[in-house]
Amino acid sequence: MSVSTWDVDVIVMPKTGVNDPEGEAIRGGLKMLGYDSVAKVRAGRMIKLQIAATSSEEACAQASAMADKLLANPVIEVFEVEVVGLAKETAQR
């Protein structure tokens, strides 16, 4: 099977129940701007990876393992993995 490069997004968020003072601060800022409609803000981070894999499933499995071991801390965070598609550079090659 041929190996391609996949764009994979890993989204890391604070767990439900874990204090997120950063999200609270952003909500405060939005309120100052007059956005009273915002009931809740949670702030996390997105990590964009390019992964060599033979399939989208394999790229996803690799990213999940990486998130489990390093990108997220399971004590305080949860993560989601999304395979965006084949990386552009690979398509051109």
Binding site: P14, V18, N19, P21, E22, E24, A25, L70, L71, N73, V75, I76
Partner: protein, 234 residues
């Protein structure tokens, strides 16, 4: 033979020389800095992970430091019962390296807190609190932005039941209240130990409270405690 202390310098550590000074010149035992790439710690009797910003605190505080070459021999040292103390960033590294449970969150205030405060000793059944009395109050400085200890309820209950919660933020009289918990730590926890009691992590800086002219010397009680556990003359 004399006890020998080691202070690990990670890229980004900045409290390493404070700890070196405290052990070498105040506690008064031979002490050396340990480079993060070292793999042989056999000459050491106690090891300090100092404060600072190891690997720039990138990703999460302590998250990258756990892959430093020195961590494998550090774990082996701890498994043999060797005294290990993680101060501030060192505590974060111990948590990320799974040598202590829990994790540190951004302070609830979102501010970097640099101040003196009080902690109450909850247990002296650890290598690092054997010179203290339970219920006694220590005055120590903190300097952190991510110092709010967090763990799930089940782990917190287990830590409490095992006596692994060893320091709690309190007021000058030893009362644990919300105002004293400046980081917003779960159950006001300022420091914990592993089950065996030889590995301890705390957010306050005992090494910066080792002489009266620094503002206080309560930290010495912690730094000296470990010597009781080492079977060598000091």
């Amino acid at each position: 033979m004399t006890a020998r202390a080691g202070v690990i310098t990670f890229p980004g550590s900045n409290g390493d020389h404070d700890a070196l000074y405290a052990y070498e010149h105040v506690v008064g035992i031979p002490t050396r800095l340990v480079d993060y790439r070292e793999t042989n710690l056999d000459d050491l009797d106690l090891i300090i992970l100092p404060g600072g910003f190891a690997y720039g605190d990138h990703l999460r505080c302590g998250a990258i430091a756990r892959f430093a070459p020195v961590v494998a021999p550090l774990k082996a040292f701890a498994e043999r019962g060797g005294p290990v103390l993680g101060i501030c960033n060192g505590f974060q590294v111990l948590a990320e390296a799974h040598m202590l449970p829990g994790a540190m969150l951004r302070n609830k205030s979102l501010q970097f807190h640099c101040q003196w405060l009080h902690v109450r000793v909850e247990s002296n059944h650890t290598v690092w609190t054997s010179n203290t009395n339970p219920g006694s109050v220590l005055r120590l400085p903190i300097a952190n932005g991510e110092g709010a200890f967090f763990s799930d309820e089940e782990t917190l209950n287990r830590l409490e039941a095992n006596g692994q919660v060893i320091f709690r933020y309190c007021n000058a009289d030893g009362a644990v209240d919300d105002a004293s918990n400046v980081n917003g730590s779960a159950r006001s926890i300022a420091g914990i130990s592993n089950e065996r009691g030889n590995v301890v992590g705390l957010m306050p800086h005992p090494e910066r409270a080792c002489e009266a002219f620094l503002g206080g010397d309560d930290g010495l009680k912690i730094l000296r405690s470990a010597l009781n556990a080492i079977n060598v003359a000091v």
